[in-house]
């Protein structure tokens, strides 16, 4: 487009990044005021990589690891919730702060409004149970199945954990196999081990991450 611009118009092709940034920020504020910001998102750096955080006006709706491909996750949110999606950090200030405190070991519980609209039926029931597992505690997939009243649905519990839309916040990392092995994890087994070490009171350093 710019390439085909007549040379006489060359001065117009110059980027005005400063104005663009200001106008974008104003757009976010106006969208929020007019209740047009259906999904706000931001990213944060953490010991387990860059995390994508997304929230509706109901609360936090999605936490995604880098391995899930953040662009792909946003595209999915556009399809499942609304395409009115903007990078708007302010709505996620609280979540970002609490996650920061969690990763430094200062926080054991998250106090945040959560929007579970991405999980349905049995999966949502599983997530509702997961938030009851305390910091530093673990349960087995079988125990979670029993707690939801479907003791034979062990595999379905595994699926519910694997499709947890809010890992870390909804602690599916606290669910292990009956033989004590880690099982699976949406963010990879190293991440699961890192979170469990953190909650066991062991500091998370580079050695834990490179395991």
């Amino acid at each position: 487009m710019i390439n085909s611009m007549d040379p006489v118009l060359a001065p117009i092709a110059a980027e005005d990044t400063e104005t663009m940034t200001r106008l974008r920020d104003q757009l976010v504020a106006a969208a929020e005021a007019d209740r047009l910001l259906d999904v706000a998102y931001r990213t944060i750096d953490s010991p387990v990589g860059t995390l994508l955080l997304a929230a509706t006006d109901q609360g936090l709706v999605r936490v995604a690891y880098q391995s899930e491909d953040h662009d792909h996750v946003l595209q999915t949110l556009s399809k499942l919730i609304s395409p009115r999606i903007l990078r708007a950090p302010r709505r996620l200030d609280q979540a970002a702060r609490q996650l920061g405190e969690y990763f430094t070991g200062e926080r054991r519980d998250f106090v945040l409004p959560l929007d579970f609209r991405l999980a349905h039926g049995f999966r949502r029931a599983v997530l509702a149970h997961l938030v009851l597992i305390n910091y530093g505690q673990t349960e087995t997939y079988a125990e979670v199945a029993a707690a939801t009243g479907h003791s034979r649905a062990v595999r379905a519990v595994g699926t519910a954990c694997a499709t947890n839309p809010m890992p870390v916040i909804v602690p599916c990392h606290r669910v292990l196999r009956s033989d004590g092995k880690l099982g699976g994890y949406v963010g990879g087994l190293e991440t699961k081990a890192t979170l469990l070490s953190l909650e066991a009171g062991r500091s998370i350093g580079a050695d834990t991450l490179s395991r």
Partner: protein, 167 residues
């Protein structure tokens, strides 16, 4: 399937800002951009899949710019006319040898055709839909506009500078 609106802003925001500035002086151009994207965000979920996003945004900007011009006319006083060419307005302009002002001095149809085709990148057929009239008329208006801008460069003292920057 619709892409997140954030991507639309990132991809088309700068071009639509240039279109607004080709039509209006700042800060009205910036206001037109803001109103364009807020209106676009509102309507975005209902936009047909596969629609030409750039043409859609430029069409909204076209209407918002007309609104701004109408508001300007209502506000206009002789004092404001003087200020338009004075140093107070110059403070808002990027250093461009007066091109933005020259663009906005063109007759409306030419200015719009240049803004939508050359700056916004729309084909003449799309430009014709926005400004009315035939595709040929849109093409002629854009050509006449560009010719007038070239003349402006030749006549202005900055012609040497402009040529140097192009070679």
């Amino acid at each position: 399937m619709k892409r997140p609106f954030e991507e639309i802003v990132a991809e088309h925001g700068p071009t639509v800002l240039r279109v607004c500035r080709a039509l209006l002086a700042r800060p009205d151009a910036d206001d037109a951009w803001s109103e364009t994207f807020l209106a676009a965000l509102r309507a975005y979920p209902d936009l047909a899949d596969g629609a030409n996003i750039e043409a859609w945004l430029v069409t909204i900007a076209h209407h918002k710019a007309i609104d701004q011009l109408r508001a300007q006319t209502r506000r206009a006083t002789p004092v404001a006319e003087v200020a338009e060419t004075g140093s107070a307005t110059d403070a808002w302009e990027p250093a461009d040898n007066g091109l933005w002002a020259a663009l906005r001095a063109l007759p409306t149809k030419q200015r719009q055709a240049v803004a939508y085709h050359h700056v916004g990148g729309l084909p003449y057929a799309e430009v014709a839909v926005i400004v009315g009239g035939s595709t040929d008329a849109a093409r002629r208006a854009a050509h006449d506009g560009i010719r007038a801008l070239r003349r402006h460069y030749r006549d202005s003292q900055s012609i040497t500078l402009a040529k140097e920057s192009r070679s």
